[in-house]
Subunit: 343 residues, 2 copies
């Protein structure tokens, strides 16, 4: 039995999409047990639409919901909110394995740091989505928004966190790690990235391949791209924007003439596969890495299928021992020797 907490109230389509996602996840994974936090009556009203295994789902009633406009450092104090209630349960109850939320990214990060807590030795948690690449697989981009300001030691730790995720989440052996910069040459970047390059080159336990550029996130042999949270966020959203533009243009063009419509009918399977390859959500949300337990941040606009994929992702990563793998990697590295204290 794998117990996962679900913030049923987080996200633009909650609780409809979250509850439906839970039902789907339970159907797909018979070992799963879900604890939904949120407004009980609203959740039950949604649950009543479906058949599901009632023995593997419980609800914890929470009157309060944190929304996108709340300031994260204030929101973390609202213990009766669905997200913070979940974090407190996750911290206190040993048999609960993880948490999935489509709520406020900021509140998820702050709650993770202040309530659940970091893995011993980790300076900061990092947000790490899986991005579709041209090999038909994924590239993990870490950090992409939890830390707008970084120090070299943080970037070095992100490389460990994301390498462990590549192994536990996607079965990638000895994942190739690149450092996101404004060119591939060693001297590229600002002092933060130049320093980080130096340390990553010396670090044991990761497979560092050097600097990579924005294009290499989707087009290279890299499995992990390490980034400060500012540039990583910019890159992620730039790619999402480009993907959205393409899908919008596709929709417009394939309805622009009779001939194009006929073309669409013949090519619709191919087009569907194209759309799927640009789907940033199919790999089940972004992981908030570096915390004591598995936390998955599903996209704010998650539909039921996306949310269900995020739950499946959390369960799978727990099964594959992500957190113990990170701890083991950390044991092998003495950061205080590698990197001067001020960095």
């Amino acid at each position: 039995m794998i117990k996962i907490l679900v913030d049923a109230m987080g996200g633009d389509n909650a609780p409809q999409a979250t509850v439906q996602g839970c039902v789907e996840a339970l159907e797909n994974d018979k070992e799963l047990y879900l604890i939904l936090t949120g407004r009980q009556n609203e959740i039950e009203a949604e649950l009543n639409k479906y058949k599901y295994d009632k023995k593997r789902l419980e609800i914890v009633d929470c009157p309060d919901v944190i929304d996108m406009n709340d300031i994260p450092t204030e929101a973390v104090k609202r213990k009766q909110s669905s997200l913070m209630t979940a974090y407190w349960m996750l911290k206190k109850e040993d048999d609960i394995c993880g948490l999935v939320t489509a709520g406020s990214t900021g509140a998820t990060i702050v709650g993770g740091q202040l309530i659940l807590g970091r893995i011993r030795g980790i300076k900061r948690p990092a947000l790490c989505p899986a991005i579709p690449n041209n090999r038909g697989g994924v590239t993990l981009l870490c950090d992409c928004g939890a830390n707008a300001e970084c120090k070299p030691v943080m970037l070095c730790q992100f490389s460990i966190l994301a390498s462990a995720y590549a192994e536990a989440g996607f079965g990638i052996k000895n994942p190739k790690v690149g450092l996101l910069s404004n060119g591939t040459e060693e001297h590229k970047g600002d002092p933060l990235h130049q320093e980080t390059y130096k340390y990553l080159s010396q670090m044991q336990g990761i497979n560092f391949v050097g600097n990579v550029e924005g294009r290499d996130i989707m087009l290279s042999e890299c499995d992990v791209v390490v980034s400060d949270g500012f540039s990583g966020n910019v890159a992620l959203k730039a790619m999402e924007g480009c993907g959205k533009l393409v899908l919008g243009v596709m929709k417009k063009e394939f309805t622009s003439s009779l001939s194009a419509k006929i073309g669409y009918l013949f090519a619709r399977k191919a087009i569907k596969r194209m759309r799927s390859q640009l789907d940033f959500e199919k790999f089940g949300g972004a992981l908030l890495l570096g915390l004591k337990k598995v936390v998955v941040k599903s996209h704010g606009s998650s539909k039921a299928s996306t949310f269900s994929a995020s739950i499946a992702n959390a369960a799978s990563i727990y099964r594959n021992g992500l957190v113990p793998a990170v701890e083991k990697k950390l044991e092998a590295i003495d950061f205080s020797t590698l990197i001067p204290e001020e960095n």
Copy 2:
């Protein structure tokens, strides 16, 4: 008569593509006069393939060529190279309006700073490409690689440079300016971006609309997105990578089955328009803004049509008075009052 210098030896496909591009540009614009720098015999061998107006083209023989592996600060000393010869002529001869090169970006930036020189008051030149957006127009991203490290005053000046370019290059009146950050809220970003936000909000002469995210480069109402050169480069290349992935998937999927191939035949016009909307090069290279004359950096992999578009872009921007427009905007702002010296 508009005299433009062309580095005939710069880029992956030089001098074939550059020379062909020059011939096309001369054909399209009867007012154009081109001065090609490079190895005379190689250029002439290419020119002999075409008919062109010999009275509007001259060659300046340069034995040396700077390539992508040369260190820019060293390359700038090579006065007999096609690029630096062009920069020296551009500096010295009043009747020459601009320069187009597909050569090393680094050498183009360093040569621009050290030989041609900046517009009075401008701290640093910035690289500014035009990126296709969902309105069928362009968004100017400035800086996207000339300055990996920035100060707030530089970002504020980029907003002026790119606003003037939006007006002179694309006829956009009162262009909307966004600041690239990791979220739209005012407090987002690192101290550099938080400070810059404050100054941009107070600045006269630009139409600042607040923080924007990576997705907003292609998907928003913004005409200009201001960025430090590190994140701007990451964003640009992330979008290019995503675009390339899409085109690659499209090619693969539309040949994946008989049905898809038939679909392609019917929809090929629509697909061609889709490809064109993702073409980052069709708007004629990136401008190196902030210099005393017009300098256009065409993509290293420029084909003849791309290179010809870059030449046309240089001529058009000169005609529309980009540099005087920047000077006029600068006169209206007292940076030393707006921004403390150390920023």
